[in-house]
């Protein structure tokens, strides 16, 4: 087995035992990148030189017994996290040459935990998309079938972990941008509670929905990195000063007697039969683990997509106003006056999907339309949140499909935004309610594409989520296949 195929906990054990060095892991990962990146295209920017230096530094610390929980582990960052001195594009032409003078809080935390950064991964421009096709830098491919999309918007991170181009990766999830690609690529992906992981230095898409989370090869790795990135940050006003439990302590505990809620609204027409079968099987697995499945209702589920496509574009239309060509980033050439400079810069700097959402959002906030759209959507969002509060009175966790379909083909939905938007139909609700969710691999289609199952829990119940996911993982015994690249 190659080092790049191992998990964080496997590599850490070997590092601490002195069997391998951090430099060897990093060489293995970059060897893999050299071999498969031309097919996968997971990265926008590689950080090879600094990675080698960081590996050497980590090696030194491990020898002295000072290494942090991620010492010497190569991880990838979605190109939405600001990295000091390293170009951060957010998948957009408008930030093609932007080099932040600061690190995101998450990047600082990973750095001080000893992580080695392999590079910045590809994404839908400003995280707007479900396929990573909306990137100025070209589409990322699904390692299981390079004719298919990896999901999005954090598709580069999901693909990089799947392809062995890093050991773990980080992304952001505004409506499913971690869980959906995790499901489509066959890895574990978690969106924590809103306020659990600092958004400082995360380039904003929709501020009230964005949350940072990890992609890992198994649930244990997910708990390890959550221990590193979770916690209060005084630099973020919406960060919550709540104690972070040891997430590893939830692993391996059983879920006997737990009530697992199955929302009836989530088994809809249009769900892929193979996906539905895999989820039905997953329900039997948790029952086999001693939990009881109970039907629950989330009555406002039908409104989730509509509410999301008002709230998120509205916030985005404001968040993206700063990209005006004045201070940093791309500026279109000659302009006669200020207005023309704005128009040319933003017309050429943003892609079609971003412009579409800026227009939708601007419209939803306009005077005369605000009450009918933004205000109404905010009110319905409150009802969706209440659905979950009610549901969690009757169950410990909720189990749903992550995505209604497995990975679709490149270009299949690019001309049909509405069809694309439905990719996130099962994941959006968690962002609207602010609750945590995790996607765990639960099988394969007959064509060999991965399928994911989603668990949801109440606010700040990441521990419970990890307990359910780890119990599921243990009992499901999904065969560990590897993509043939």
């Amino acid at each position: 087995m190659e080092l790049y195929e191992l998990t964080i906990h496997e590599l850490s054990d070997r590092l601490r035992a002195g069997e391998i060095t951090s430099a060897e892991i990093v060489s293995s990962v970059f060897g893999r990148i050299d071999a498969v990146e031309k097919d996968v295209r997971a990265y926008i920017t590689l950080m090879r030189e600094t990675a080698l230096a960081e590996a050497a530094e980590a090696g030194e610390k491990i020898r002295k017994g000072e290494g942090g929980p991620l010492a010497g582990i190569p991880v990838a960052l979605k190109d939405i996290f600001c990295t000091k001195g390293v170009r951060t594009t957010c998948g957009s032409r408008i930030l093609e040459n932007f080099i932040p003078p600061y690190d995101a809080t998450v990047v600082e935390k990973l750095r001080s935990a000893g992580a080695v950064f392999t590079g910045k991964t590809n994404m839908d421009e400003f995280a707007m998309g479900s396929s990573t096709e909306n990137s100025f830098f070209g589409a990322t491919r699904n390692p299981w079938d390079i004719e298919r999309i990896p999901g999005g918007s954090s598709g580069g991170s999901a693909a990089a972990v799947t392809a062995g181009e890093c050991i773990a990766a980080f992304g952001s999830d505004t409506g499913g941008s971690i869980r959906q690609p995790a499901s489509l690529c066959g890895v574990v992906g978690m969106k924590p509670t809103y306020g659990r992981v600092s958004r400082y230095g995360l380039i904003a898409f929709a501020s009230s929905l964005d949350q940072i989370g990890p992609f890992t090869k198994d649930v244990e790795d997910c708990a390890i990195v959550m221990n590193v990135i979770a916690g209060y940050d005084p630099r973020e006003s919406t960060s919550v000063p709540q104690e972070v439990p040891d997430y590893r302590s939830f692993l391996g505990r059983d879920i006997k007697g737990w009530r697992v809620g199955i929302p009836k609204e989530y088994f809809i027409d249009g769900i892929d039969p193979e996906v539905e079968a895999a989820i039905r099987k997953a329900i039997r697995v948790v029952e086999g683990a001693g939990a009881k499945s109970v039907e629950i209702s989330l009555p406002h589920t039908d409104y989730c997509v509509a509410v999301y496509y008002i709230v998120a574009p509205a916030e985005a239309s404001s968040n993206l106003a700063r990209y005006d060509g004045v201070k940093y980033g791309f500026r279109a050439g000659e302009a006669r006056d200020l207005l023309e400079m704005y128009k040319k810069t933003r017309s050429a700097g943003f892609g079609a999907e971003v412009k579409r959402r800026i227009m939708i959002g601007t419209y939803a906030l306009s005077s005369g339309y605000y009450d009918a759209y933004y205000r109404k959507a905010s009110q319905v969002r409150g009802l969706i949140k209440r659905d979950f509060d009610e549901a969690f009175k009757n169950c410990d966790v909720i189990l749903t499909p992550t995505s209604p379909t497995p990975a679709f083909r490149l270009g299949e939905r690019t001309d049909d935004p509405l069809q694309m938007y439905l990719s996130d139909i099962f994941t959006i609700s968690a962002n609207l309610a602010g609750i945590p969710g995790i996607s765990v691999p639960c099988g394969y289609t007959t064509g060999g594409l991965p399928i994911g199952v989603q668990f949801l829990a109440g606010h700040f119940q990441e521990g419970r989520l990890l307990q359910a996911a780890s119990a599921y993982e243990k009992h499901a015994r999904i065969d560990k296949r590897r993509p043939s690249l």
Partner: protein
Amino acid sequence: MEYEPVIGLEVHAQLLTEAKIFCGCSAKFGAAPNTHACPVCLGMPGVLPVLNRKVVEFMLKMALATNCRINRVCSFARKNYFYPDLPKGYQISQYASPPAEHGWIEVELNGGKKRIGITRIHMEEDAGKLLHDERNPVSHVDLNRTGVPLIEIVSEPDIRGAEEAAAYLRRLHETLVYLEICDGNMEEGSFRCDANVSLRPAGTEAFGTRAELKNMNSFRNVQRALEYEIKRQRYVLEGGGKVAQETRLWDDTAGVTHSMRGKEEAHDYRYFPDPDLVPVVIDDAWLDSVRKTLPELPLERRERFVRDYKIPAYDAGVLTASRELADYYEELVRLSGEPKLASNWVMGDVLRFLNEEKKGIGACPIAPASLADLIRLIQAGTISGKMAKEVSEEMYRTGKPPEKIISEKGLVQITDEGALTEMIAEIIAENPAQLAQYRAGKEKVFGFFVGQAMKATQGKANPQLINDLLKKMLAGDK
């Protein structure tokens, strides 16, 4: 037809907090361009605002001083528009839920008092500044001012004339400066005013169409601009025309307002709650702690000065023009025990010296204790009032205590009756002719003897004593 002007004012006051409202940068004015600017100020991707709680406290002081109702929960909103001095493309302000509403202040008008309502006070961040190159077609952006805290104070449309508007503004200004939350500098833009003006037929209720006036950077300009605009609108209405709803700029040099943009071009700011900030909760403990720091306000203090120190209302007004000046005066009263004399000295010499150098009382080299000493020396007769003028000038110039100046200059008044009697006797003996004239009834000659006596003592004799002695001795009743 008689028309009545209806005016509402919007005042923006920069707050004197150390740090900006949403980051740790210094809020001080006057630094080299873009040296007080961090990634938050620059609106860089991914950075987030964190509210400076001092700003809330400063806002609360003004809200309490203007009798506002405090809302216990308020929140921030984004005001969206594009401009190069606005790095995020939106200004963080407050919209649907302001922290303070329904307040009022009282202004004095022609001897009477009038209450003017305050609709709301809210917090927001200032924008940066554009510097236009005179010679080249380029503009530069200075973001030092970006994020400097502001409060916006919106009045009710209660104001009925230009003079009234100016009186209201002076009261607001005075209160802000008194609270030490704003330096009130209008030229530097730390106190800015926009006005909404409309006319309606006198005696009617409904509002006419209003124009918004901008670019008035002094009390005088506000008054002039309003006077002009009222006249302009009256002219339009009397000519059978309609006042357009528009924004107009005051042109200080030409003395006119002209249209900047019409209703059609008005911005749609697309306000919505800022998702990066959580609602501000103002609890009793916080409000009480702010209330405790409130100083006595100028109007109350003015009334107390008249009542307790028995000085004229005008004097009290001058002495309470700033909190520092009033503090100076009160300290002098405490040390000298002479409210009236203290008032004369402060309003006379002290303010004259300071005004000549365009300085504030904070820069006064004469400490209240020294001035109290001077008053005591005059009352004890050690020096004359005339000498005191000379001494006070020297005190201002050198900062020395009065006793020192008096002894250095040999200014001590001669009050030794024995010595003076001897000297006067000599003068009388040397001038028999004048003595004869005086005794013959030529009273004017008295002045001659006073002059001789002052000359002999180089002006240091106590004039009252000289008068008394001369009268007695010239009459011969020695």
